[in-house]
Symmetry: C2
Subunit: 403 residues, 2 copies
């Protein structure tokens, strides 16, 4: 095993990597990912390094990791080389990618905008070419949103498909390990290494998630509609579906209670004991998590169960949901906290579809709005990750995107 690199870090003009000596590891074998470089969000452990979880107080109050997260070991064993650990929003709780302690990574595709988060550094590293692919985590959009904002591919796998051993938790019934790549084939190739087997193909129809198309800002929907139409040429006319008859805001309202209850159950004791300072907006979100009334989270859990029972059977025949990954392009760096919060609320209602039901979701860099990237999402039933990645490769080809 090699140790922490004492060499000067390679170029990091985007500020994607955590400050300090670069954490690197040579491949542990050769295979599907030989010759590829990757970066890892700094909430996965690498033996010998302290995992910061995006906050200096977390780093200060936790010992260095004695073991490497199995998901990282698996990538090294498949031939990839680790080139560094990347910045995350503090305790992974935020979607803009801002981190006042480590500095906010720059968005390589839209320098005047946020990179998206919480896996901000992983998205920036891949988008900017500092790594071929990168691991992130996704609880409520933390891979999908930065992938959409930075104009690259990203996947949130089926819930439970990838081990979270050696990874810090946020909301355990929603947490997943996902990844980013600049090409559909590499996104899929990483899946060949990490994902369990499953159906090889998605034989079902396209389902257009009208809740999300209507929720999207008009210019975002307009930018992505041509991509939807080309997918229809590939797979036949899409069937419009309304997944949340109560309105997408209702999904947001219920799922944020479920998430907040879990976040406080996971991190409350450490926050109470340590009283860490948080950057703009983060403290308020943790305070809200602390204040959740169990009757509200109970209603949220019941809503979620009913939603799962309605949505999962829809996808059993191999249907594919299609929708804008995010209702908005990345917020401008000089936007107000209130503007950021309204984007966040509109976004989480959409990202909660996969979260609530444990669905795999791939985002493709399919559109642009005033020079800023916006992603198109494809979702499938739980366990159909490999088939979804295969379809994403076909879709990329039809859409003229990097395969």
């Amino acid at each position: 095993m090699n140790t922490l690199s004492a060499a000067p870090p390679a170029d990091d003009s985007l500020g994607a990597f955590i400050p300090g000596p670069r954490v690197t590891r040579a491949p542990l074998g050769s295979g599907r990912l030989s010759g590829r470089s990757f970066a890892v969000k700094d909430l996965f452990d690498v033996a010998g390094a302290v995992t910061s979880y995006g906050h200096p107080d977390w780093a200060r109050t936790h010992p260095q990791a004695v073991a490497t997260a199995p998901v990282v070991t698996a990538l090294l064993q498949a031939g990839a080389a680790l080139v560094g650990k990347t910045k995350t929003v503090e305790l992974a709780f935020g979607l803009t990618g801002e981190n006042v302690w480590h500095g906010t990574p720059r968005n390589p595709a839209a320098p005047d905008r946020f990179p998206g988060g919480s896996s901000a550094g992983s998205a920036a590293a891949v988008g900017g070419g500092a790594a071929d692919f990168a691991l992130g985590s996704d609880t409520a959009g933390s891979v999908r949103i930065p992938a959409s904002y930075c104009g690259i591919y990203g996947i949130r796998p089926s819930f439970g498909a990838i081990s979270l051993a050696g990874a810090r938790g946020l909301a355990p019934s929603l947490d997943t390990a996902g990844w980013f790549a600049r090409t559909a084939s590499l996104l899929s190739g990483v899946g060949e290494v990490l994902l369990p087997g499953g159906p090889a193909e998605l034989g079902g129809p396209l389902l257009r998630v009208d809740d999300a198309w209507v929720n999207a800002q008009p210019d975002v929907a307009e930018a992505l509609r041509p991509a939807l139409e080309r997918l229809e040429q590939l797979r036949g006319r899409a069937i419009g579906v309304r997944l949340v008859p109560e309105g997408i805001d209702s999904l947001y309202d219920h799922m944020r209670m479920v998430q907040a209850e879990e976040i406080w159950a996971t991190l409350g004791a450490w926050i109470e004991a340590t009283a860490p300072k948080f950057g703009p907006g983060v403290a308020e979100r943790f305070a809200a998590a602390r204040a959740v009334d169990p009757s509200d989270s109970g209603r949220g859990r019941a809503f979620r169960r009913a939603f799962q029972a309605r949505i999962r059977p829809l996808l059993e025949g191999g249907a594919i949901l299609v929708m804008p990954t995010s209702p908005c392009a990345a917020p401008l760096l000089n936007s107000s906290l209130a503007e950021q919060d309204s984007v966040r609320q509109a976004t989480i209602g959409v990202t909660a579809i996969a979260g609530a039901c444990g669905l795999p979701e791939v985002t493709l860099p399919a559109g642009q709005v005033r020079g800023a990237p916006v992603g198109l999402s494809l979702l499938a039933g739980p366990g159909r990750d490999r088939a979804l990645l295969a379809f994403a490769c076909d879709a990329a080809s039809v859409l003229g995107l990097p395969v």
Copy 2:
């Protein structure tokens, strides 16, 4: 919210509950579980109490919980009353149920034998009548084995079906929250509260898992065969299947590497920093976890992916696997560590079937060997938990077991 009870604890002649003031909570609502009492394995948080995780050093180095695990809140909201927190094997890593710090709970069905673990206190509390049902956790058998040993019902749900927020982790890709009950209908009733929706019925055939029937001690297989035959009268002749052509020991060999790697990634840093003393056998198991070679765990992960790809499609049509829950009845209290270890190895090969594939498994108290209970297991495809519980109720009725 009520506080820690200062009243003298109710009868605990079996030693099921953790020492000290009993942690009780009144219901938070009324519903499916009104009038029922329950206990909770002391690795789930209850706000205001320190979670011991079965070890005094864990309790000493962790603050009291500031939030209650959502799964516990859900049970309180459904009308159940919490009557105490129960003993677990140290850090949930062991199958006999022994705990040298808190005392080993007695097996209410076979007082000269171990209760099984790691959810030993929850099984003893339910078996002995101190609670109507109880939460446990199951990584490699920690609900199924004590249920089998104590002659009660137990369920390990589909991986990911129940939130583990506010619960201590052991091997995150295998950890699940399960429960115990004395009747099939209450086992199922708890599932109505906790489980997401899913198919209502299992329409497929019985599949007799010959690997496990052959692996079982002859008297255990003989004691359970009449139950299998009565299930065949209910559902038609079983089809014999060999799930692990390489031999069940091979599944054990690979899965213990996967589990050990995750255990060290989860608990290694705390163990290194705290250097806790462990009871007989536990220290050796953690030392083995620490020493796992990544090439061995890598082979284990690859074996697991191939096994999942082979087994899951078998269960897509609603087939039901049937097998002895454990190859042995509970070991005698005066058995040697070597004897206990050989039982453990034979057992984990069988319990790893559900673990490796994320399958739900219900154990029914269907047989006895020289006065000691042995369980019969029914398993289904991932997400079919409710249908499996419904079938378990039918099976209990046919077998003349408590419905």
